[in-house]
Symmetry: C2
Subunit: 218 residues, 2 copies
């Protein structure tokens, strides 16, 4: 099973690495990293990754995983990426996204009237692209499976694992990555964080320190 | 504040990228990736990363973050890495680890009689190295801060953020990465998973599919 993890300039590394650690452990996984550009790809917080493939060397993956970004509009204007996603969508069994990554499928014209979730600060943008946006943490609308912001990729990948390989493997991988989360605070969603923290976070985004800096400035 | 994320052959990417996404967003963070080898570094599930530094170019970081590995004994025998860790420990404010990464500090002779946590399947090994091993998800024994297996790095990093920069920033970063975990199953610890799943996971580890393959075979 060929798994295509999509890389692009400014991707958020945790969006990618959460699902990679789970889906990449599927017994039949062949883990690939595809980029439309030659050379290394720099994540938005500085991690530099080496791709394994170009669109032409990986035309028909079985699963596509698109991460989000704190600069979410760049990939939406990457014509080579959108062309590849459209092509891959014809044969792929699953089209997965995390965070603002859902916007890539939407920009490729694949998500109209489909249900998907995304980073909380990107919901309005995704809705404006014709997507039926959910506030759920994980949404399946086959062949699409989407996770909310950044860390939600782990929940998305475990959900997808159960769907593809059964609950037993999903539970085993959860134990392997010791995913027994104990957040020291309870501020992981806008509802739980409250309006003051949401405003402060959006201000931080607007200053370029995190997801949707460009959302805030549009 | 110079943050040294340690890379070595076979590191587990999520161990590193969880904390990176949180600590790397500290307002004063200078994110660096240090490796004792020239060239790219390959994670245990295939991700290839480009280091920014060698031990000599990053002698005195403020924070060190050591990830674990599914092949945890390799780094414990990396003399250049252990020398650098010992040197960095003299001036660093925080020495952080995730998963089996605590073993690196132990192998460097820094953790004797100190309290630390690690991946559940590595507890016995770490205890045999003279460490006071905890089953907690996050343990602080200054200047050491350790997280349990793989995904626990996120909880560790948020805990450390609150300690260094205050609760307000920790909560803001939690909201930024939408860390409102909703695991689809409840199998993230050996206690919750139960003996059958633990045995199956250890068997999988022994077959080389995940953390501590070498633990099981010792």
């Amino acid at each position: 099973m060929e798994i295509a993890f999509v890389l692009y300039d400014g991707f958020t590394a945790l969006d990618l690495v959460g699902p990679y650690e789970v889906i990449g452990a599927w017994p039949d996984a062949r883990v690939r990293f595809v980029s439309t550009e030659q050379g290394f790809v720099r994540a938005d917080a500085g991690l530099v990754v080496v791709p394994t493939d170009t669109p032409s060397s990986l035309p028909n993956p079985d699963v596509v995983v698109v991460p989000g970004s704190s600069r979410p509009f760049g990939p939406l204007e990457n014509r080579a990426l959108l062309d590849w996603v459209r092509h891959a969508a014809r044969s792929a069994t699953w089209l997965a996204s995390v965070c603002t990554g859902a916007g890539v499928y939407a920009a490729a014209g694949l998500l109209a009237h489909r249900r998907a979730t995304t980073h909380w600060a990107f919901r309005d943008v995704l809705a404006s692209m014709g997507v039926d946006v959910s506030t759920d943490r994980v949404v399946i609308d086959e062949p699409f499976v989407s996770g909310a912001g950044v860390s939600a990729g782990i929940d998305m990948a475990l959900t997808l694992t159960a769907r593809v390989h059964g609950v037993e493997l999903a539970r085993r991988l959860q134990l392997m990555i010791e995913y027994d989360p104990q957040p020291p605070f309870d501020a992981g969603s806008p509802e739980k964080a409250g309006p003051d923290l949401v405003a402060a976070t959006l201000a931080q985004f607007a200053a370029g320190a995190g997801p949707s800096e460009q959302v805030a400035s549009r």
